[in-house]
């Protein structure tokens, strides 16, 4: 497809063109990257919201309800739902859509499932690329759902302006158990399934933790929003509307305090870092792996005939002229 044609189609919201491009980017097809170069200059309009938390915390259910809330107000929504790839088979079951299917036919909503594929740093890049495509499609809000576990998730979350951390009482989600990194990136806390025992305890622990912080950038103290049983439809929808309003408040705060610039900068730095790694490191690793050099070096390291630092320096001299 001609590239300007492709951009025009995506801008007009053509689902097929957009979803194919996302896939080609995920599969690292070179032409897709060329398309992205053009697209990038048209991005930056959407409010990107990351939603993270343990498996089963109710994130997908929440995303579904957030979509409903946004659509009521006329906003358009893109969703990227990330689920893990099986390390044993390379396959994955992506089941987040189950909770969101009532929006499948709404042309103002685009939901795409992504598998982690276990590549080092690759996932975060795929997510960042897909965010750009949804952005150019004109989606006002882009929601990224990811399981809060490791560094990879923190990287993904760096693609967003607002981060929601979803916690559930009595699921081991007490403060000690939550990764420090996850707590630091939260702009909004949700205590989900708050009708359960332990919700108040969790709330108090969060408040105590926040009280210990010396200062909040931009004066934004992460609010804690309790959301009750999703099967209690009316009150659930009300809490979710409140969450959506808080997400909007956060964006306004970012804009008014100039912090938005910092977030954009963080996003830009992450992207640049990933692209550099992709352009510089990946080809070298590939060549060294394919030539068998990598195995040789590893053997030398094991026999203590060489050290990794010298090997890396020599490789840098050889490849980076």
């Amino acid at each position: 497809m001609e590239e300007s044609e492709q951009l025009k189609k995506i801008k007009a919201g053509d689902v097929r063109t957009a979803s194919r491009l996302i896939r080609n980017l995920e599969d690292e097809i070179p032409e897709a990257k060329n398309a992205l170069k053009r697209i990038f200059l048209h991005t930056g309009k959407a409010h990107v919201v990351g939603i993270t938390g343990s498996p089963g915390a109710g994130k997908s259910t929440l995303v579904d309800a957030l979509i409903t809330s946004y659509r009521k107000k006329g906003d358009t929504v893109g969703v990227l739902a990330v689920d893990p790839t099986s390390p044993f088979t390379g396959g994955a079951i992506l089941g987040d859509r189950i909770r969101m299917q009532k929006h499948a036919e709404d042309s103002g909503v685009f939901v795409r499932s992504l598998a982690t594929r276990g590549a080092l740093g690759g996932l975060s890049k795929a997510v960042g690329d897909a965010v750009h495509v949804l952005d150019v499609m004109g989606k006002n809000l882009i929601l990224i759902e990811t399981v809060g576990a490791g560094q990879q998730e923190v990287d993904i979350i760096n693609h967003s302006h607002t981060v929601i951390v979803v916690l559930v009482p009595g699921m081991g989600d007490d403060i000690q158990a939550i990764k420090a990194g996850m707590m630091e990136i939260a702009d909004i806390f949700v205590i989900n399934k708050a009708d359960r025992d332990g919700a108040n305890k969790l709330y108090n622990e969060l408040v105590a933790m926040l009280n210990m912080a010396h200062e909040f950038p931009g004066g934004w103290r992460p609010p804690i929003i309790k959301i009750g049983n999703c099967f209690d439809a009316v009150s659930f929808a009300q809490s979710v509307d409140k969450l959506a309003a808080t997400v909007a408040d956060h964006y306004r705060c970012l804009e008014e305090t100039g912090l938005l610039g910092d977030r954009m900068k963080r996003k830009a730095m992450v992207e640049l870092g990933e692209s550099l790694r992709d352009a510089i490191l990946s080809p070298i690793l590939k060549e060294m792996t394919q030539s068998g050099e990598m195995d040789l070096f590893v053997e030398k390291l094991l026999k203590k005939e060489a050290d990794p630092y010298t090997i890396a320096e020599e490789a840098a001299r050889r490849y980076l002229k």
């Binding site: 194919r20 896939r23 690292e28 079951i93 299917q101 499948a104 036919e105």
Partner: protein
Amino acid sequence: MTEKRIRIMVAKPGLDGHDRGARILARAFRDAGYEVIYTGVHQTPEQIAAAAIQEDVDLVGLSCLSGAHGYLFPRVVELLREKGAEDITVIGGGIIPDQDFQKLYDAGIKAIFTPGASLESILEWVGANVKPRD
């Protein structure tokens, strides 16, 4: 590194809520190394077609035990065609009498698997007939 992965959607159109078979199939696909999108029960053909395009899958596997396959399966194919996605392969499974096979094939369903079909035979068919996109 370029790697064209195959994506499969497993979907359950119609009114029956028994998704044990669909889940088993989804797991078998995952274990064979495919990326599987599972959309849950009670899906309309419209929802299935829309989701298949958003997810850009190569294959849609439909499972239906309610007896309404004669309408539901061809409708999914028709909707995909309307949206310019005729390259997505559609197969079906469930309680489907022999005399319905030809009609479904004529409507564009590429393969049909009844409850007696082994997971191996399904995986074998997919391996032979669903190739990474051009």
